[in-house]
C-alpha cells in the first residue's frame, strides 16, 4: 500500500483540476450533437414519399387515359379515389362488419402466430438439437407461398375460420421464430461477458442481456410476420375460405363477379392502406428502438 498521507493536500487540488479539465473535454466532445427539429425531420421524411405517390398516380392516369383498356375495366385514379372516399364515408366498407371482421381475424391470427412463433423461436435458441434440426426447416416453410396451404387447410378444417387461422399461423409464425433466433444469435459477446462479470447467471443473464439485446431483431420478425399473416388472410378471404362474413378480401372478389370494378379497385386501396398502416407502426417502433441504442446516425 503506498503512503498516501503526504498527498492529501495536493490531491484535493488535483481533484478540482481534473474535474474542470474533464468537464471541458466533455463539453467539447458533445458539442454539435444536437438533433434536427421535429418539423424538419417530418418534412425530410415526408417529401420523397409524397413525390413517389404522385408519380404512381400520374402513371396510372396516363395508362388509363391511353385507352389500352376500356374505361370501365381500368378506370383512372380520379373515379377510383372518389369511390374509395364514398365507400369509406357511406359505410359501404363497414356494412355488415366487413372490415371489422377482417381486422378481428388479422388480430387473432397474428397474435396466435406471435405466441406460437415466440415459443418455437425461444425453444430453438435454447436447445441446440432443436436448432440444428429445425432452423432450416422453419426458414424453408417461409418459401412456401401461403395460398398453397389452403387446399390442405380446407381438407383438415373444412371451410371456415379454422382453415384461415391455420394458414395465417403457418405463414407468419416462422418469421417470428426466426426473429427471436436471429436476435439471440446477434447478442455481442462482449455484452455477455460484461453481464457475467456483473454477476448475471443463466436466467438473469437471459433476462437482463439476451432479451433486451435481441429486441430489434424480434421487432423485425414481428414486422415480417405481420406482412405474411396479412397476405395469408387476404388470400383466404379471396378464395372464399370464410363461411360467414366474406371480409374485405372476399368483398374484392364479390365486386369482381358483380362487374363493379370501381368498387373493386377502391377495396384494393383499403387493403393496401391497412397493410401499410400496420407496417408503419412497426417501422416507428423499430426506428425508435434503434435510435435509442445509437444504431441510427442521429444526423441522418
Amino acid at each position: 500500500m503506498p503512503d498516501t498521507t503526504l498527498q492529501i493536500a495536493s490531491d484535493t487540488v488535483a481533484a478540482a483540476d481534473i474535474d474542470r479539465e474533464l468537464a471541458g473535454l466533455d463539453a467539447l466532445e458533445l458539442a454539435g450533437r444536437e438533433r434536427t427539429s421535429f418539423g424538419a425531420r417530418t418534412w425530410n421524411a415526408a417529401w420523397p414519399k409524397v413525390l413517389a405517390l404522385l408519380s404512381v398516380l400520374l402513371l396510372w392516369q396516363l395508362v388509363a387515359a391511353s385507352n389500352w383498356k376500356p374505361n370501365y375495366v381500368l378506370p383512372g385514379p380520379d373515379p377510383v379515389l372518389r369511390q374509395f372516399w364514398d365507400s369509406l364515408t357511406s359505410g359501404e366498407f363497414t356494412r355488415s362488419g366487413l372490415v371489422f371482421t377482417t381486422l378481428r381475424r388479422a388480430l387473432l391470427g397474428f397474435s396466435l402466430a406471435v405466441s406460437i412463433g415466440t415459443v418455437i423461436g425461444a425453444l430453438m435458441s435454447q436447445v441446440k438439437v432443436l436448432r440444428t434440426g429445425a432452423a432450416s426447416l422453419v426458414t424453408g416453410l417461409q418459401t412456401m407461398p401461403s395460398v398453397l396451404w389452403y387446399p390442405m387447410a380446407l381438407v383438415l378444417f373444412k371451410l371456415g375460420e379454422g382453415a384461415i387461422m391455420f394458414v395465417v399461423v403457418i405463414g407468419a409464425a416462422p418469421s417470428v421464430a426466426n426473429g427471436i433466433l436471429a436476435g439471440s444469435d446477434q447478442v455481442p459477446p462482449i455484452l455477455m461477458r460484461a453481464g457475467r462479470v456483473l454477476g448475471a447467471r443463466r436466467f438473469t443473464l437471459w433476462k437482463e442481456v439476451v432479451l433486451p439485446a435481441s429486441l430489434p431483431a424480434f421487432v423485425s420478425g414481428l414486422k415480417q410476420g405481420w406482412a405474411f399473416s396479412w397476405r395469408s388472410l387476404m388470400a383466404g378471404e379471396l378464395i372464399g375460405a370464410a363461411t360467414g362474413n366474406p371480409g374485405i378480401g372476399g368483398y374484392l372478389d364479390i365486386q369482381r363477379t358483380n362487374l363493379a370494378y370501381t368498387q373493386m379497385y377502391a377495396a384494393m386501396i383499403l387493403i393496401l392502406l391497412i397493410g401499410i398502416g400496420v407496417d408503419s407502426i412497426f417501422n416507428v417502433a423499430e426506428k425508435s428502438i434503434n435510435r435509442r441504442r445509437g444504431l441510427i446516425d442521429a444526423a441522418a
Binding site: 474535474d19 457475467r196 456483473l198 429486441l215
Partner: protein
C-alpha cells in the same frame, strides 16, 4: 477465501476521501498457474506456471507483447475461466473493465450502473442514492439520462469505471481500458484513475501495451514473455504520486521497461 459483502456506502456525501465507500483492496495470488486452450498438437499454451501476487491496495501493471496471455490471466482472476493447472485465489470481489466500455446500449447511464447494483441484490431505494454517488465520483453527475452512444469514448469508460465500483469490488481488473482513447483523454483518465484508486484503495491489475502508461500508473510493473506467457521480470515503481505522464522519472522508467520488452520480443525472431 472470499470476504463477506462490504456494507454499501451511506448517503450521497460530497466526493473526496472522507465519503468514499469502504471498499479496501484485497490480495490476488496466482500460484503456478498454467492455461492451455485446445488439446493435442493444436493446443495453445497461453500461460505457463505464472506465479504472481498483488498486495491489497497495490496497483500492478501487466505488460507484454502479443500472445503473452494478459487477457487470459485477467479472465482467470475474474473467475470467467479456470486454470489448467495451479491455483488462483482472490480475497474479495472482482470487477473487470474492457477496452470497449461494454455498456448496455438499451439502458441509460444511470440504469447501466443500477443494473450492476441490482445484480448484487441491492434494493431499489438504496440503488438510487448509490448511483448518484457513483456518477459524481467519475464527474458525470449531469449525464445520468444519456444513453451510451450519446457519450464520447472517454465518458463511456468513466461510466464503465463507475459500474465497476458499483460492484463494491476490492479488486479491479482492467484489460487495456484506455487503449482506444485519444492521448489527451487518456492522460486525463490516468489522473482520474489515480485519484479514485488513492481514495478507494482497491487492488488494481491493469493490462496494457503502453509502457508509458504502465510507468505512469503502477506501483509495480510485471513484464510477461510471450508464447507461452511467463513472468519475465518485475519493476518496482516508487515514483511519488500524483505523477504526470511527462515526468522525467516516468519517462526514464518507461525507457528501462521498453529495453527489456524489446529484448523479450527479439527472442522470438
Amino acid at each position: 477465501m472470499t470476504d463477506l459483502a462490504t456494507p454499501p456506502a451511506e448517503g450521497i456525501g460530497t466526493r473526496g476521501a472522507a465519503s468514499a465507500p469502504s471498499t479496501s483492496g484485497a490480495e490476488v495470488r496466482l500460484d503456478g498457474v498454467s492455461k492451455m486452450f485446445g488439446s493435442g498438437a493444436t493446443a495453445v499454451h497461453a500461460l505457463d506456471r505464472v506465479s504472481l501476487k498483488a498486495e491489497a491496495g497495490e496497483f500492478v501493471c501487466l505488460i507484454g507483447a502479443s500472445g503473452c496471455g494478459k487477457s487470459t490471466l485477467l479472465n482467470l482472476v475474474a473467475g470467467l475461466d479456470r486454470p489448467t493447472a495451479g491455483t488462483v485465489s482472490t480475497a474479495g470481489r472482482t470487477a473487470l473493465m474492457f477496452q470497449e466500455s461494454a455498456l448496455f446500449p438499451w439502458l441509460t447511464v444511470t440504469r447501466n450502473i443500477e443494473l450492476a447494483l441490482k445484480l448484487q441484490g441491492a434494493g431499489r431505494s438504496q440503488r438510487k442514492a448509490r448511483v448518484q454517488e457513483l456518477l459524481a465520483s467519475v464527474h458525470l453527475d449531469e449525464f445520468g439520462d444519456k444513453r451510451p452512444h450519446e457519450l464520447s469514448g472517454g465518458m463511456r469508460q468513466r461510466v464503465a469505471l463507475a459500474r465497476a465500483f458499483a460492484q463494491d469490488a476490492d479488486i479491479v481488473l482492467m484489460d487495456e481500458p484506455f487503449g482506444a482513447l485519444d492521448a489527451m483523454t487518456r492522460d486525463l483518465l490516468h489522473d482520474e484513475l489515480e485519484r479514485l484508486w488513492t481514495e478507494r484503495g482497491f487492488t488494481c491489475l491493469f493490462v496494457t501495451h503502453n509502457v508509458r502508461e504502465a510507468a505512469r500508473l503502477a506501483d509495480r510493473v510485471v513484464l510477461l514473455s510471450s508464447r507461452p506467457g511467463r513472468v519475465a521480470c518485475e519493476f518496482p515503481n516508487n515514483i511519488p504520486r500524483p505523477r504526470r505522464i511527462d515526468d522525467p522519472t516516468v519517462s526514464a522508467m518507461a525507457a528501462e521497461i521498453t529495453l527489456q520488452l524489446r529484448s523479450e520480443v527479439a527472442r522470438h525472431a
